[in-house]
Symmetry: C2
Subunit: 227 residues, 2 copies
């Protein structure tokens, strides 16, 4: 049993977060369910990939990342973003990828972090509410699920460059495999692919540049929010 | 009054579509409401931008693009994508950007096409269900709304390169301004910005490469769907 499913990535290392002080005062509904656990909408392939990574997690090499209705529940208590109490009252906000209540319709996914390889694997099963062209996933969902992998790191996405190789059918199960290529000061360079679990079909390849957020970025966020 | 709000882009020109034959047999629920019209969740800014573009549409320079629960309702009847009857039974599918029923929670947007400038303006008001970091829009939504502008053109996105300049607060009203820079054979090069209506704040800049779909691409889609 996992003692506490809340984890966070700080300096590209997941550690258990603290409960942010004052959180209960502002967040009425609480974190609710952890979406990164199997449900009845998961296909056999999805469940089998999940079980494989859970098995590999026993050694501590991989760590499952929890996922709740708002991103802040999966972020550390001390995160600078908690310093915006004016956002707390927006308790009707939902994390973009967890905004549908019916299981299986939207983003079904679970992420596993490998600290030694600085690599995130996301097992993704796109549901029928993510449609672009008839029967296929909207390109924006693919951008979203790639961008998602490092959103818990207090990193701001500065650039996202995606090459779409083939249209992804709704209901497929794919692995989104992202890893840190290098870090230069506050910049983190990441590359990723979206591919079938057997590696025989690549749907997209992407590179990302993230900027670590610091108190200055925090002020920028604050400024931006006033506009 | 608009005689028929269904339009489509063929060779980068919007023309009224035909009713696809056999459509009523496969699509049980019908197109339903047109989401690209004002509702009570639209802010004053959003409505005022909408009215401005509707006013400019009177001369025929701009055309409002309708938007329904599935993209196929806004595509031409003769579109090659209708040649996949096996996808029709997925009548529970929803277009990614129109998958929430409660107004104001998700993607509130309307697109206007300017044929002479080959330019699409999207007025976008992101709701609280599009959250990434607390109070701000998920980067994937920005990618989605940019990619969206030309999704009706029977164009397959080959590359999407986004530079995020500043985090976009939930509830903002922004203009997504995309235009065709050049066309080379089956390739269409597009650039776009996401900015405040007054132009004083730019949130993202993007370039896109689209490939026109032809019967060969159609077979690729067919192949992909079998995998």
């Amino acid at each position: 049993e996992m003692p506490n499913p809340w984890w966070h990535l700080r300096g590209l290392c997941w550690v258990p977060p603290r409960q942010p002080s004052g959180m209960s005062r502002f967040c009425h509904s609480g974190p609710g369910k952890d979406y990164a656990l199997p449900n009845s909408s998961w296909s056999k392939d999805m469940t089998s990939q999940f079980n494989k990574f859970m098995e590999m997690s026993k050694s501590g090499l991989w760590q499952r990342i929890s996922s709740h209705r708002r991103l802040m529940y999966d972020l550390p208590g001390g995160n600078l973003l908690f310093s915006f109490p004016k956002f707390y009252p927006q308790s009707d906000s939902r994390f973009f990828c967890r905004n549908l209540d019916v299981e299986g319709l939207g983003f079904e996914y679970v992420m596993f972090w490998n600290q030694s390889e600085k690599r995130m694997i996301c097992i993704f099963q796109p549901g029928p509410y993510l449609e672009g062209y008839t029967g296929f996933v909207h390109g924006g969902c693919i951008a979203t699920i790639i961008d998602n992998a490092f959103i818990g790191c207090a990193l701001f996405t500065a650039n996202l460059d995606i090459n779409y190789k083939a249209p992804l059918p709704l209901g497929s199960v794919v692995l989104v495999d992202t890893k840190v290529d290098k870090t230069e000061g506050r910049k983190t360079f990441i590359s990723g692919t979206v591919q079938r679990a057997d590696g025989k079909m690549v749907y997209a390849h992407a590179t990302l540049l993230f900027i670590h957020m610091d108190p200055q970025t925090s002020s920028q966020l604050e400024e931006a929010s006033k506009l």
